[in-house]
Amino acid sequence: MKFVIGMHINPAVLEALTPEEMAAIGEGHGRFIESLKESGELIVTQALVDPSQAAVVTVRNGQPVVTDGPFLEAKEYLGGFYLVDVEDKARAIELAAQIPDAAIDGLGVEVRQVMFSDGQLDA
C-alpha cells in the first residue's frame, strides 16, 4: 500500500529552533531515509522550498494570472513528503512517528493513502 507522509511545517516554528535543533532534525531525516531505503519501503522523498517562493496560477477567460506567494495564507504549509510503499496503514503510522517533525509542537506529520498514480517511478 502506498502512502504519502506529508510534513506540514510552520516557518515561524522552524525559525525559533536553535541551529543544534535544526541540525538534529536534518540528521533524523537522514537516518530515516537510510532505514527506509534499506527496508525497501521508500519510493521517493521531496522537500519543497519556502512557501514565500510559491506562485499561484489561475486562468480566467483563458488568460493565466500569476500571483506570488502561497495559495492559502496559513501558519502551516506543506514542506515536503515521503512516498512509501508499506504493508498497511499501521506501518505507515509507525514510520510517521519516526520523523523528527512529529516530536515538535507546531509541525504536523500526516499520513494519507495514495489512490492513483502514474508516470515514471524510476526517474
Binding site: 519510493i43 504493508e87 492513483f116 517511478l121
Partner: protein
Amino acid sequence: MTELGVEDLLREIAPQVLGALVRRHGQFEDCEDAVQEAVLAAAQQWPAEGVPGSPRGWLVTVASRRLIDQVRSDHARREREAAVAVAEAAPEDVPDADDTLVLLFLCCHPALTAASQTALTLRAVGGLTTAEIARAFLVPEATMAARISRAKQRVKAAGGEFGAPGEAERAERLRVVLQVLYLIFNEGYTASAGGELHRADLAREAIRLARMVHAQLPEDTEVTGLLALMLLTHARRDARTTAAGDLMPLAEQDRSRWDRALIDEGMRLAKDSLAGLELGPYQLQAAIAATHSDAASAGETDWQQVHALYLILERIAPNPMVTLNRAVALAETAGPRAGLELLSTLDSDARMTGHHRLLSVRAHLLENAGDPAGAYEHYRRAARATASLAEQRYLESRASRARPRTAP
C-alpha cells in the same frame, strides 16, 4: 525460440535450478542472486543464440560460476570459498527432485512481512526479474531490490533452512504459502488504473504457481480449492469492467463474456476439493464462486446455497468480511431488512468502522428496502472512504442513481 517462449521456459525452470544450487551449496541468499543473474543472462542470450540443449544444465553451470565469483570477490566470506569450489566440478547433474514446495516454504517464511514474502516468492519461485516485480507493484526497481535483499537477510537470520518443514509446522507453513499466492492473485485482480496490464500478469502468475503447488500436492483439498477459486474468479476478468474501465458488479456482468474453459476447469476442481473429508476456507470460497458460475443469469443464482456456504465459512473462519457477504446473500433470500439487521451486528466491530465495503453494502440494501435517502447518503460515504478510483467512480454513479428526487 521467441522472447516470450524463452521467458516462459525460464520461469518454469528457474526454481528447479535454484533448488539444485541450494542443494549443492547451501546459502540460499547467494544462490538466489546467482540464479537471478543466470536468468538475466539467458533472457539476453537465448532469443538471439538459441536455447542450449540442456537449458537447466546451462543455467546451473552459469549460476554456479556466478556464485563462485561472488564468494571469491567477497573477502569476508573467503573461508566458504573452498566448499563451493569443490562442487564446481560437476555442474551437469541436475537432480530430478522438484524443489518448488521447499522453495515456497522458505520464501513464505513466517519471519517476513506479506509484502516481502510476495516479492521473494515471485523472484525465487516465479523466476521473475526484480525489474518485472517492481513494475507489477508500481515501485522503483531499487525499492524492490532492497526489499528482496532484506527479505533474504531476514530468512537467514531467522534460521530458515532449505528443507521440508516438520510435520507439525508443515500445515501452518502451507497455509502461509496459499495466503501469499492468493495475495499475489488479488494484487493482479484488483487492477487499478495505471499498470493494469502488468497487474493482470500477476493474476496469471499466481495461477501458474498455484498449479505448480497443486501438481505437487494433488490430494490437498485446500490447494485444489485455492486453484479453483482463482480460475473461477479469473474467468470473469473481461466482464468485470466496461470498455471505459468502469467496474461492473457481478449481478450486471455479461455472463457470455466469462471464460468458459476456465469456469469448466474451476468447477471441476471445486467439486474435487469438496470430495475430501476436511473443509477449509478456500474450498468454501471456491464453492461459492462455483455457485455463481453455475447460474445462467444473476436472477437464477442459488442464493440459499450461497448463504449456507457463507454460514459454514463464518463458522470455520470467522471474519467480518464473511459476515458482510453473508448479509448480501441473506438479503436475496429473506429480504433487504434481514440483511440490514445482520449488518448491524458489524457496527460494533472496530475493524469495520467507516469501512467502505460496509457502507456500500448497507447503501445497496437500503436502496432495495425503499430508502433512497439512506442509500444515497451511504453510497456517498462509501465513495469517500474507498482507496480505489474505479470503485469510487462506481459508488458515485450508484449514489446519483439512488438520489431521491427533491421537491421543486
